[in-house]
């Protein structure tokens, strides 16, 4: 079942990358990042069956980082929305020369 888990993890990560590359809604972009983190968690759990429970400890850490990232990222999105009335990445191009 290990090979299947790693393959599933790779497929989910790839779908997350495709989402980040194709969507322009900043909130959906963040959700795609969460999907990628979930895919990585799956491979941690799958490998923890072979190499002991330390992999599951890392999953706990990844979840903490994901929570922190979601909190700060969504606060930034709210701040941007106040300025621009939009979360579309095409409208957020201040640094584009």
């Amino acid at each position: 079942m290990l090979a299947e888990s790693l393959a599933l993890s790779a497929v989910l990560f790839t779908i997350g990358v495709i989402g980040v590359l194709t969507r322009r809604n900043a909130i959906i972009l963040f959700m795609c990042v969460e999907l990628m983190l979930n895919a990585v968690n799956l491979s941690f759990v799958a490998l923890s069956k072979l190499y002991g429970a330390t992999g599951q400890v890392f999953v706990v850490m990844v979840m903490t980082v994901a929570a922190a990232e979601a909190a700060v990222g969504l606060a930034i999105i709210i701040a941007i929305f106040r300025h621009r009335q939009s979360v579309d990445l095409e409208d957020i191009n201040l640094l584009k020369g």
């Binding site: 069956k49 002991g52 606060a75 106040r82």
Partner: protein, 189 residues
């Protein structure tokens, strides 16, 4: 409920939830409405929680449902609600053809890499190490149950990292409050 007793039951549900996860993920990246996308992502997380349980990580499955599906996704939906973005826009937010081509190319390249890796000698290193696997199984059957094997390394070898994550969370909370705060007098700066 162990692997050895119900191998067919295990593999059937493993594939079932795996395919459900992939289908939900594909629906998630293609939905226009942020709320529909979030719901499909929650479905992916539930399927992954089931996979964790099937892989023998019951505690991770539980906190996957509680923390990811229950807390993080609720925060996302909350922001969608606050910003009133729940309606699907008339124009899809998918990028143009160039973006789609780039994404398709990256996706194919990454999948090809995985296939090559699966054929290479890296896969041989992943064959179950009998001693380690037995050790892990015995730890779960020990007095600590399923949580003991996670708690022991978390609070012994990785205690410093654990404390640092608490600092990270504190910093994130303070940062989120400062960034999200409305300024006095309406001055945007």
């Amino acid at each position: 409920m162990r692997h050895e007793f119900f191998p067919l039951f295990y593999s059937f549900h493993f594939y079932l939830f795996g395919l459900l996860a992939i289908a939900s993920a594909l629906l998630f990246v293609t939905r226009k409405s942020p709320v529909a996308a979030a719901m499909w992502l929650v479905n992916v997380m539930f399927c992954l929680a089931a996979e964790y349980v099937l892989l023998g990580a019951q505690f991770i499955g539980a906190i996957q449902v509680l923390v990811y599906a229950g807390a993080i996704m609720v925060v996302f939906l909350f922001v969608v609600m606050l910003l009133n973005l729940g309606h699907a826009e008339a124009v899809t937010d998918l990028r143009g053809n160039a973006g789609r081509l780039a994404a398709g190319f990256v996706g194919l390249a990454m999948l090809a890499e995985v296939m090559v890796l699966a054929q290479s000698e890296f896969a041989a290193e992943l064959t179950p190490k009998a001693a380690l696997a037995r050790q892990a199984a015995e730890a779960i059957d020990g007095p600590g149950g399923v949580i003991g094997p996670i708690a022991a390394p978390l609070f012994r070898e990785h205690l410093l990292a654990f404390e640092l994550t608490s600092m990270l969370l504190l910093t994130a909370i303070v940062g989120a409050v400062v960034i999200g705060k409305k300024r006095e007098g309406g001055d945007a700066r």
